[in-house]
């Protein structure tokens, strides 16, 4: 939000995974928030895209992927598997990633659909997802020690269960989250934030956006110098969202 154009503190490359098939729940908003907050913090942002069949860009600093139709997951399946080793290496190396909804499920070990078909994931997250008959839809508030309250909207029929090597992103105080049995929402592992919440997630949860930015910049430039960002509207939107019915 600074005036004038001070010298850039550096450039961060944001890679959006599968925007063509996995961008149905406002996922673009998360990319835009990273781009704008980087600018407000004094950094340049470059947005890259990877769709099924493209050559995977080799030099991304933040990876971000969203939700799609069940049919979209089928379309990207093969491409995702062929890039799985590379994505696992990036994750292991500490690349910050945001995986929402469909990509969250596919970052896990598998997604077993209701009819018993097992769709393999890429195993970055120790989670498994089981197709359910009930669809979990509505506003969500979940408490995270790391990021404070997280606000969003969920719309999924997959029920996700966490294995021992990932921890939940947050504890649900309104809504369902990962599944209808436990009060966990999302997963945290390495520098990955994974969640069922869209809404979009990052605009109303700037703490999560700034975590991804801080990790990316620190990895690339050794340190992160935040700018002065005005989050008044985000705070008001958060307060209001908490009062909305499911």
């Amino acid at each position: 939000m600074s005036s004038g154009t001070p010298a850039s503190k550096g450039t961060v490359r944001i890679l959006q995974l599968y925007p063509r098939d996995m961008n149905i729940y406002g996922d673009w908003g998360n990319v835009l928030v990273l781009k704008q907050r980087l600018a407000w913090h004094g950094y340049d942002a470059v947005i890259l895209e990877h769709n099924a069949g493209d050559t995977f860009p080799g030099d991304a600093d933040i990876l971000i992927g969203g939700g799609g139709q069940d049919s979209g997951q089928v379309v990207i399946q093969q491409d995702l598997q062929s890039n799985a080793a590379h994505l696992r290496a990036l994750a292991g190396d500490g690349t910050p990633m945001l995986a929402i909804c469909g990509l969250y499920q596919l970052f896990g070990n598998f997604f077993k659909t209701q009819d018993g078909t097992v769709i393999p994931g890429i195993g970055i997250l120790d989670i498994e997802t089981h197709g359910g008959s009930e669809r979990l839809i509505g506003n969500v508030v979940a408490r995270s020690e790391e990021f404070g309250d997280i606000h969003g909207y969920e719309n999924h029929s997959g029920q996700t269960f966490l294995g021992p090597t990932v921890r939940p992103l947050a504890t649900v105080t309104k809504g369902e989250g990962n599944n209808s049995k436990e009060d966990h929402e999302g997963a945290r592992h390495l520098n990955i934030v994974a969640s069922y919440l869209h809404g979009s997630m990052l605009p109303k949860n700037p703490a999560v956006a700034d975590f991804l930015i801080r990790e990316a910049v620190t990895r690339k430039y050794g340190s992160f110098e935040p700018g002065d960002v005005d989050d008044t509207l985000a705070d008001l939107a958060r307060r209001h969202a908490a009062s909305r019915p499911r």
Binding site: R20, G29, Q36, I47, N155, P203, A237, H240
Partner: protein
């Protein structure tokens, strides 16, 4: 069978008269007759000489239905239709009760019925349509249906039950995908010239980067070729016709191609093209859909927005220059609870002039969205009543435009009716 009419129709009509006396124009009488006499609608509608047309899709149903009705009336047909706000089965039944005689007979040539995509399934199971017009599958219903692919299946069910002709939007990949399921009816299409494809992004085209599906190669009965302001050129039978429309908004103009295609199916060789174009030119916007009112001697336009495609097209259709802009976003059930789609609308066109007032239950979400597109918002006031008063006062000397979700539109319209003439649609 018809013996039941002697009981249900008079009873339904009585309930209707009583509920009107009480000041309601509700669908309740329709519910009553539906419960006691489920065959009522099918009996009343089945013998119409030109059949039963169902208009459905996620967006543009109301205005398109109005266009089809006026096109057919312009050719001398007597048309039965359900009016705004009653696009559920019981709404159709309630509208029928107002039109049938005491024995349940309807005097009309054709019925043109707007049906909500979910309730249409129930309706077509009771009353198979002879024709259907399927407009689009957009994203504003995700909190009801979970997936837009599921919405497609609902429209497909309408098409499968249709016995005469199914008219499809060839540019919407989900609507076009319905064609192979149609076994008992003919299929016709309406579409766009290639040069207009990127003006009408489908949900698959919506993301930050540009990208548009290739033009469809399916044969279309009516093609919208050019749009310049309110002037549109349609190609039919290899001939281009240009018409100046009263309706504004490019989405309405594309739906005019849909209405023309449907009317041509009904009229066949009897269609009089010049008269059809004259009817189309005269169609006025339906309730809240690009209505232009007058406040302080200057226009105030209401633009209904329900999903990212519609909002994008609204911003594209209505030039912001010279206008004071207000945006009101509610997230009540009828609006859809999920507001994430606001992030798929690009608000760049408002950057120069800024937004005078942001309102509605989700005012702060909207203001936050504008902040991320570097659009200045002068004021944020969740209460639409006081927001409207402030907006009208502060923009006194300028024409005004309000983009609003459905329930925000209802509230704003109610408040506006206290200060200006707002047309009442029964």
């Amino acid at each position: 069978m018809s013996g039941l009419s002697f009981v249900s129709v008079p009873l339904g009509k009585t309930v209707r008269a009583l509920s009107r006396l009480r000041g309601g124009g509700s669908a309740f009488p329709g519910l009553v007759v539906e419960r006691i006499d489920p065959g009522f609608m099918a009996r009343a509608l089945r013998n119409l000489p030109k059949g039963i047309i169902v208009v459905s899709g996620t967006n543009g149903k109301t205005t398109t239905t109005k266009m089809v009705v006026e096109l057919l009336e312009g050719q001398g047909l007597k048309v039965f239709t359900n009016r705004t706000g009653s696009n559920f089965t019981r709404g159709v039944a309630a509208a029928l009760l107002g039109e049938v005689d005491w024995r349940g007979r309807l005097s009309a040539d054709v019925a043109v019925l707007e049906l909500d995509e979910a309730h249409a399934v129930h309706f077509v199971n009771l009353v198979p349509p002879t024709h259907c017009l399927l407009l689009n599958v957009l994203r504003d219903q995700l909190d009801r249906f979970g997936e837009i692919d599921k919405t497609t299946r609902l429209l497909e069910h309408i098409a499968v039950k249709t016995t005469g002709t199914v008219v499809l939007n060839r540019e919407d990949p989900r609507v076009a995908s319905i064609a192979p399921s149609v076994r008992n009816a003919a299929v016709a299409y309406f579409g766009l010239a290639e040069s207009l494809r990127d003006t009408f992004p489908s949900d698959d085209d919506l993301r930050g980067a540009t990208g548009t599906a290739p033009a469809s190669s399916l044969p279309a009965d009516v093609v919208l070729e050019t749009v310049v302001s309110n002037t549109a050129t349609f190609r039919m039978d290899g001939e281009a016709s240009t018409v100046d429309l009263t309706l504004r908004g490019v989405y309405n103009i594309f739906n005019a191609a849909a209405a023309l295609a449907m009317a041509r199916v009904i009229l066949g060789g009897e269609a009089k093209r010049d008269a059809m174009l004259r009817s189309l030119a005269a169609v006025e916007p339906a309730f809240g859909r690009g209505e232009s009112l007058v406040v302080d001697g200057l226009p105030l336009e209401l633009v209904l927005v329900k999903n990212p495609s519609g909002f994008r097209l609204g911003l594209k259709s209505f030039d912001a220059v010279g206008y004071a802009t207000m945006i009101a976003i509610n997230d009540n059930y009828a609006d859809g609870r999920d507001m994430s789609w606001l992030w798929d609308v690009d608000f760049d066109s408002l950057r120069t002039g800024g937004v005078e007032m942001v309102s509605g239950v989700r005012a702060y979400d909207m203001a936050l969205r504008l902040q991320y597109d570097d659009v200045a918002a002068q004021a944020v006031e969740p209460d639409t009543g006081s927001a409207l008063r402030t907006f009208i006062r502060s923009a006194k000397d300028r024409p005004k435009r309000i983009f609003c979700t459905y329930t925000a539109m209802l509230a704003i319209r109610r408040d506006l009716s206290k200060i200006t003439d707002v047309k009442v649609v029964s």
